[in-house]
C-alpha cells in the first residue's frame, strides 16, 4: 500500500503528521534509509518500500542548548539528542518531559509526535523523544 508514496523527506514528514515513523527500505539489498532517499545509495536500486518503525530507542548522546536561533529562544534551555531506534536507524530530535539532570546516555526513550505544526516547507510537524 505505502509503496505508492514518493521516497522523499516531505513524505516522511507527512507520515509524521499521521503519527507514524517511517523509513525507506531497499527491497534489493535490505538497507534502511532515514532520511528516505529516492535511490538506494548502496546498490543504486529504485525498488524501495516504506516500512513503519517501532517508536522505541536508546539515547546515544545529548546536549542542553542555551543559545539558539530566534525561532527556538522561547524554549531555552532545551535538550536535544540522537536516538538509536530499535529497528536500526538513528534519529536526532528534542527530548521532552524530563529534566536535563535526569537524562543519561543509554536511557530508553520513545518517539512521540507534535502534529499541530502545518506540514508545508519549511515547517514540518515534529517528532520528539520522551522517557518510556
Amino acid at each position: 500500500m505505502t509503496e505508492t508514496f514518493p521516497f522523499t523527506i516531505e513524505q516522511f514528514y507527512k507520515f509524521v503528521s499521521e503519527r507514524k515513523l517511517m523509513a525507506a527500505k531497499c527491497k534489493k539489498c535490505g538497507i534502511m534509509f532515514l532520511p528516505p532517499r529516492p535511490m538506494c545509495t548502496k546498490c543504486f536500486s529504485s525498488d524501495l518500500e516504506w516500512v513503519e518503525l517501532k517508536n522505541k530507542g536508546k539515547l546515544l548522546t545529548y546536549t542542553v542548548i542555551h543559545v539558539s536561533p530566534k525561532q527556538f529562544e522561547s524554549l531555552i534551555p532545551y535538550t536535544v539528542g540522537i536516538v538509536k531506534l530499535e529497528d536500526g536507524p538513528k534519529l536526532p530530535g528534542m527530548i521532552q518531559g524530563v529534566a536535563p539532570e535526569k537524562i543519561s546516555v543509554g536511557m530508553d526513550l520513545r518517539v512521540d509526535f507534535d502534529t499541530t505544526i502545518p506540514s508545508q516547507w519549511p515547517t514540518w510537524p515534529r517528532y520528539f523523544f520522551k522517557p518510556s
Binding site: 546515544l60 542548548i65 525561532q71 529562544e73 534551555p77 538513528k90 534519529l91 530530535g93 519549511p122 514540518w124
Partner: protein, 390 residues
C-alpha cells in the same frame, strides 16, 4: 624522504582578525592581498596571477553572493577568472586544494587562493542561524540543533566512551589563548585561566563560552606557483606536498561513530600518503578547533595519539609551543578567530610563517614539516594539507 612538491607557496597575506567595524569583506580581502603583494615584489599581480579561488561561506552576513569576481576586483586582479567555493567552514581549505590541483595539473603557473567572512556586525542569534545552515535542515536545524549543539553531541559521546573531561576541553582553550596572546593578528590576544574557562556561560552543555571559537571578521590569501617557478619570486618557498579531502553524510546522526570525524581521518591518510610522511613527522599543525572537543578529536583522527587519548595529549602539554607537536600556534579558531570562509587559508598562512621563520614570539624553532586540517560543518567535509620548508 618527504614527497615531491605539488605546488609552492611564494607569498601569503592575512588581514587583522577581529571586530572590523565599518568594513566590508571585500575590503578585508584587499588588506590580505596587499600584504601578499608586498611580501613578493617580483610578482606583477595583474600579469602573473591567472586564477583566483576564494572560500566564502554565507551570503546572509552581508547580503552578498557572487564573491569570486568581487574579491578579484578589490584585489586588483580583474579580468582574471575567479571562483567562489562554499564548503561551510572548510571553504578556503577547499579553495587551497583546488588551487593546488590547478597548478599541479599544469593548467595555470600561478594562482591566488584565499577566503573571507564578515560576521561581527550581525547579532549572535543571526550568526547562530547562519552557521547552522552548514548542517542538515530537515532533521537537525528544524529540531533546534545548533552548531555548538552538534559538537556538544560529539563531546557528550566522547566523554561517555573515553572519559574525556570538561577540564581537558578547557585546557585546549587555555593553550590556544596563550598562543593567540602572542599573535598580533589574533582576534582575542588574551590569556584565559582554566578556572575562568570552566566557569564561563553554558552555550550547549557540555560546551561553554570558552569551548567555542570566535565570531570574527577576516580575510586570508596565498600565492601558489609551480614548484620550479618559486625561486623567481622568493628565497623562502614553502612546498605543499600532500592534499587530501573527503566527504561524509551531512547529518551527524547518520555517521557510524560520532567520537571521530571520519572525513578528517580519511583526508589525513590521503595527505600523509601523498606527502610520504607520518603523523610523527609533523613539527607543527593548525587544526580545526571550532570547538575545543574538535581539537581533541583532530589529534586522534590525524594520528597524533590513539583514539580516546586526545584529552590526555593536551593535558600532558604535548601540543603546547615547546611540546613535541605544537598545535594551533596561531591561537587557532579559538583565539585568533574564525571568520569561517577565511579559516582554511588562514591556517596555511600560519604554517607559512612558521616554516619560513617569521612567526616571531610564537616561532617553533627548526620546523620543517607542517600540517593544516580544516573541517566543514560537523564533518561532512574535511581537508588536510601537508607542507615542507623549501
Amino acid at each position: 624522504m618527504a614527497g615531491k612538491p605539488l605546488a609552492t607557496i611564494v607569498s601569503a597575506g592575512l588581514s587583522k582578525f577581529g571586530r572590523r567595524e565599518g568594513l566590508y569583506g571585500r575590503e578585508l580581502f584587499a588588506e590580505a592581498a596587499k600584504e601578499a603583494y608586498e611580501r613578493c615584489p617580483n610578482l606583477i599581480p595583474k600579469k602573473n596571477i591567472k586564477a583566483l579561488f576564494v572560500g566564502h561561506m554565507g551570503e546572509s552576513y552581508e547580503h552578498q553572493g557572487h564573491t569570486g569576481p568581487t574579491l578579484a576586483d578589490w584585489a586588483g586582479l580583474l579580468p582574471v577568472q575567479a571562483t567562489r567555493i562554499e564548503n561551510a567552514c572548510a571553504s578556503s581549505g577547499v579553495a587551497l586544494g583546488l588551487g593546488v590541483s590547478a597548478v599541479f595539473s599544469g593548467m595555470y603557473d600561478i594562482v591566488m587562493v584565499g577566503g573571507v567572512e564578515k560576521m561581527t556586525h550581525r547579532t549572535t542569534s543571526d550568526v547562530t542561524e547562519f552557521l547552522a545552515m552548514a548542517s542538515d535542515y530537515p532533521f537537525e536545524q528544524w529540531h533546534g540543533i545548533t552548531f555548538p549543539g552538534l559538537y556538544a553531541l560529539m563531546a557528550t559521546a566522547h566523554m561517555h566512551k573515553f572519559g574525556t573531561t570538561e577540564e581537558q576541553m578547557a585546557m585546549v582553550a587555555v593553550k590556544n589563548h596563550h598562543n593567540g596572546a602572542l599573535n598580533p593578528k589574533a582576534h582575542m590576544q588574551k590569556e584565559v585561566t582554566l578556572e575562568k574557562a570552566m566557569a564561563s556561560k553554558v552555550i550547549a552543555w557540555p560546551l561553554k563560552l570558552y569551548d567555542c571559537s570566535l565570531i570574527t571578521d577576516g580575510a586570508s590569501c596565498l600565492i601558489l606557483t609551480k614548484p620550479e617557478l618559486a625561486k623567481k619570486f622568493t628565497d623562502t618557498p614553502v612546498h605543499i606536498i600532500g592534499s587530501g579531502q573527503a566527504s561524509d553524510a551531512i547529518g551527524l546522526y547518520e555517521r557510524e561513530d560520532i567520537t571521530t570525524i571520519k572525513a578528517g581521518k580519511l583526508a589525513g591518510q590521503e595527505a600523509y600518503n601523498m606527502a610520504k610522511v607520518k603523523p610523527q613527522d609533523a613539527d607543527i599543525a593548525e587544526v580545526h578547533d571550532c570547538f575545543t572537543i574538535a581539537e581533541i578529536i583532530a589529534y586522534e583522527d590525524l594520528g597524533f595519539c590513539k583514539p580516546g587519548k586526545g584529552g590526555s595529549l593536551v593535558e600532558e602539554g604535548v601540543t603546547e609551543i615547546g611540546g613535541k607537536i605544537p598545535v594551533n600556534t596561531s591561537g587557532g579558531l579559538k583565539s585568533k578567530g574564525h571568520p569561517v570562509g577565511a579559516t582554511g587559508v588562514a591556517q596555511a598562512y600560519e604554517i607559512y610563517l612558521q616554516l619560513t621563520g617569521q612567526a616571531e614570539k610564537r616561532q617553533v624553532e627548526g620546523a620543517e614539516i607542517g600540517l593544516s586540517h580544516n573541517v566543514g560543518g560537523s564533518g561532512a567535509t574535511a581537508i588536510v594539507h601537508i607542507y615542507r620548508r623549501g
